[in-house]
């Protein structure tokens, strides 16, 4: 009887350990997808520049269009609605928030040292650059209260080279 009880206890302990590892690995996988989404968002935002400025040999980002592109990218890749609230099929649970920083020939003296206050991400801006930071909120953990308070936040930069 003692052995059977011990066995049941070990079974449940193993179940908890496995559940934690499962959730941790799942979160790692989606965190890697978040990284790709943020990188793609910064690339998409940097695609839109002011044509009139470009004729003068200056790169100036069209920030309105840049924000449109970032939102569209996050909606698609993180599966959210147009207010960036995750849909049913999304892994994420909290409303997605983001910050975008546009450094270009109109507002920057190069080089500029950038440090993101949310992630600590540092980047030396030497050319026109778009930096995007996305906060995707908490991970999904079955066992609450261990490390599920950690938020998933990621930064990426894309610079225009060779103009």
């Amino acid at each position: 009887m003692k052995a059977a009880l011990f066995g049941v206890a070990v079974f449940f302990f193993s179940l908890f350990v496995w559940l934690f590892c499962h959730d941790y690995n799942l979160n790692h996988m989606y965190y890697m997808q978040l990284r790709t989404a943020v990188e793609e968002a910064s690339v998409a935002a940097s695609m839109f520049t002011e044509q009139t400025e470009e004729k003068e040999g200056r790169i100036v980002f069209n920030q309105v269009e840049g924000h449109e592109a970032i939102k569209a990218m996050l909606e698609t890749m993180l599966r959210t609605d147009d207010s960036l609230n995750p849909s049913q099929e999304s892994y994420w649970q909290d409303k997605i928030t983001y910050n975008a920083y546009f450094y270009d020939d109109s507002n920057t003296i190069y080089p500029l040292s950038f440090t993101d206050s949310d992630t600590g991400f540092t980047f030396e801006v030497k050319r026109p650059t778009v930096i995007v930071t996305v906060n995707a909120g908490k991970a999904r953990y079955t066992i609450k209260g261990v490390i599920d308070d950690t938020i998933n936040i990621r930064s990426a930069a894309h610079e225009i080279v060779g103009y």
């Binding site: 066995g7 070990v10 193993s14 350990v17 989404a37 569209a72 698609t76």
Partner: protein
């Protein structure tokens, strides 16, 4: 003898967990390799303005060479095949879309233990999204 039998039963029960963990690591690696291959194809399409047939063929060949259990018919590939151009304003009609999926044959290591049928014991890995074309309209 009784203790030995109880111990044996416990070991059999506990074997489920390392087997499941091993399967999940294997599936995670599959997803990661799948993501990397899709990423390469998507970046190629960005420069071409669309998914050329050569890009699609390379994508499928890379997937089949990485995953011997896959055949051409197992790969779902719905991508933009008409040329898109870089625009001065954001226009979804000029985006290069992709939706690529491959099957994951097994997601639970001991399905019978949990009462899961073989037909339910599978999933699909999916990568879908869009990128903007780098091709300038002439």
């Amino acid at each position: 003898m009784k203790n030995f039998l109880a111990g044996l039963a416990i070991v059999v029960l506990l074997m489920v967990f390392p087997l499941q963990s091993a399967l999940e690591i294997s599936n995670e690696r599959r997803m990661q390799v799948f993501s990397d291959i899709v990423y390469t194809a998507v970046q190629t399409s960005r420069f071409d303005g669309y998914f050329k047939q050569t890009t699609i063929d390379k994508l499928k060949n890379d997937l089949i060479s990485q995953f011997p259990d896959l055949s051409d018919g197992d790969i779902y590939c719905n991508v933009t095949t008409t040329k898109k151009y870089r625009t001065s304003v954001f226009d979804e009609r000029e985006s290069i879309n992709y939706d690529i999926r491959i099957p994951i044959r097994k997601i639970v290591a001991a399905p019978a233990f949990w009462g899961i049928s073989d037909s339910d014991n599978k999933a699909t890995a999916k990568r879908a999204g869009f990128v903007l074309s780098e091709v300038l309209a002439t």
